[in-house]
Amino acid sequence: MTLLDVDIAFRYPGGGATIECAWKDPVGEPRVTVFLGSSGSGKTTILRCLAGLERPQRGHIRFGDRTWFDASQAIQLPPDRRGLGFLFQDYALFPHMTVERNIAFAGLGAGGDAVMPRVAELLEAFRLRGLERRLPRQLSGGQQQRVALARAVFRRPKLLLLDEPLSALDRATADEVREELRALIRALGIPAYIVSHDRADALALADRMFVIDEGRIIQSGATREVFDAPQTPAAARLVGARS
C-alpha cells in the first residue's frame, strides 16, 4: 500500500485567498474520493497542486518513497514525472489530432510496437471503435470524455485525478454519463480523486468525500456518513442537508 502524504499551503498570485490542507491517504485500493465544494472553494487548485500544475508556497506532497513537492528542499517534480492521470474539466483533447492520435500521444517515446496494441485495447475498452479517425470536434460530449479518460489511463497511472468530469455536459447527458463513468472507474481499478461541486456526482461516484470550504477540508469520511451527519453548517449547506 502506497501512502499519499499531502500537507500544503497555496496562496493565489496577487494576495488572494489561501488554501491550506493536509491529509494522509493509503492509495492502493481502487477507491474513489470526491472533493466536494462550491465554486471558488479551492478544490481544483488542490488537484492541480497534486498534478504539479501549480506550486504551493509551503509544505510537501509525498507519494510512497517519492517526493513530488517539498517547499523546504525546493523540489517540484514536473507533471510528466508524477505518473498520474488527469482528466480536465473540458477534456483538453488536442484539436489537431484524431481520436487515435490523442490516445497514442501518451505513449510517444515508448516505442511504436508497444503503443498501437495499447491504443487498440483502450479503443475497445472505452467503446471508441469506429471513431479512430475522427477529430475531437466531430465527437459528442460523452465520446470526448471517453477519449480523454482513455488517454489519461494509457500509462496505467497510480492515481487518477478528474476535475469536474461532468460539468461540460448538459444535465441529461451528465446523468447518463455519470453511471457510465462510475462503471469505467470501477473497471479500471485505479484509485481516483474527483473534484465536483455537484452532490449528485458525490453520491453516485464517491466511496468517501472531502468537503472543501474556503480552501480547507472541513469534513472527511465515507460518503453516506458525511451526507447523513454533516458536522458544520457549511458542510450541511454543501451536502444539501439541514443543519
Partner: protein
Amino acid sequence: MDWVAIALTLKLAALTTLILGVVGLPLAYWLATTRRRWRPLVDAAVAVPLLLPPTVLGFYLLMATGPSSVIGRLYSRVSDGTLPFSFAGIVLASVLYNLPFAVRPFASGFAAVDRRLLEAARCLGASAPRTFMTVMVPLSWPSLLAGLVLAFAHTVGEFGVVLMVGGNIPGVTRTIALAIYDDVQALDYAGANEASALLVLFAVSVLAVTYSLQRRVLPL
C-alpha cells in the same frame, strides 16, 4: 538586372529568417508564457526596432561592433575579419532589426494556444520540449508562418540598417534595395524600375502564398 545583388539579398534573407527561427521561437515562447515581472521590459526591447529609424539602430550597431569594441574584439578572435562592412555584420543587423517582425507574430500565436492543452500534454508524460513541438507549434502554425514570411520579406526590402552597418560593397553587402538606390543615383531609371518591379512582384506573391496557406491551416 544586378543578379549578384539579388543572390546576396536572398542569402541574407534566408540566413536571417533561419536565425530568427532558432532564436525567436524560444524567446517568443518565453514572452507568451512567463509570469515574470520584467517581461514588459523584454517585450519593449524586442519591439524597439519598430519605432527606431534604421539609421539609429545601424549607427549604434556600428559603434557596438567596431574593431575596438568588446564584440568586435571577440569576433576578430574567432574570425579573420571585422563585423562592420562585412556580410556577417549585415546578418547580425538584419536579425536584430527584424526581431519584432518575427517574434511578435510568434508570441501572439503561442499566447492564443489554450494553456490546458499544454498542461494536458505534460500530464500525459510529455516533456516541455516535446509539448512545444507536438502541441504548441502545430496549433500556432499560421502565426509562425506569418512571422517567418514577414521576417524574410522585410529583410529583402531592407535599406537603412544594411547601408549603415554594411556600407554598399558589391558582392559583399550590396543588396537589391541598395542596388536600386545606386541605379537612381546614376539616373538609370530603367534598371531601377526592373529591380523595383521584381520586389513588388515578390512582395505580392509572398503575401498571397502566406494568406492562402493560412486559410488552409486555420480551419483546424
